[in-house]
Symmetry: C2
Subunit: 136 residues, 2 copies
């Protein structure tokens, strides 16, 4: 088992494990917002992953980005590895819309999360798990 | 020749062309901040690049990240492809310090750039070109 930073875990829902990354949905219905957390301990920077792992992560970024596009048709994807608050390596993929709350600014640190209703989150998570099944 | 968005060009200095990406230094001495702009026309999203190009971009992210670490020893790297304002695909690599102006928030949209003195920028650009020479 892999340790996930408690702050990441508290703000998000578990979706699935791909080959390298644990995938989570951020609990903020203002944006379709997914996290990829490579299941490697003590890695803080993208470039601290071995190159083979980086290449798998890149494939998984493609899988999750395409799922996000298929589900929400965003105007733009924002992909980022920041880690200033939570240093455990995690990649954000956020679908952005010209009419969303933070546009055109980044979503991090912008306003307060609007949490999902449990039933909405569950439906969404089930749909995503089904979509990701071929990749698991 | 490749067309670079005028806003990107106006806010940054040319450093070098790697195999895929044109590399620029953001004209903001608050942060060591580099841009990688893949020399492919009309590409907006990372996942719109062919996978071979994505893999080269990943290698170039490693090269630029390691240069940034070697030159500045930042506490954290921030790596992001956003593109909400300038849609031409570009990847930011920013060296962050716990005492920098925006920490722990992202740098985008935070305060005003502090431009380099021309002589400082020139010295830095020359050092970076020398460092990148083996990769060109």
């Amino acid at each position: 088992m892999m340790n996930i930073d408690l702050r990441l875990a508290a703000d998000s829902f578990e979706i699935a494990d791909l080959s390298l990354s644990h995938i989570r949905l951020m609990n903020d219905q203002r944006y379709p917002w997914l996290l990829l957390i490579p299941r490697r301990d003590e890695v803080r920077e993208l470039i601290d992953l071995p190159l083979e792992d980086q290449q798998i992560l890149l494939q998984e970024i493609n899988i999750i980005s395409r799922m996000l596009q298929a589900f929400w048709q965003p105007d733009k994807l924002n992909i980022a590895a920041l880690g200033n608050v939570v240093s455990q390596l995690h990649v954000h993929i956020v679908g952005r819309f010209q009419e969303d709350e933070a546009w055109p600014k980044p979503v991090w640190g912008s306003g307060d999360a609007q949490k999902y209703l449990a039933s909405d989150a569950n439906k969404l998570i089930m749909r995503m798990r089904k979509h990701l099944e071929p990749h698991i």
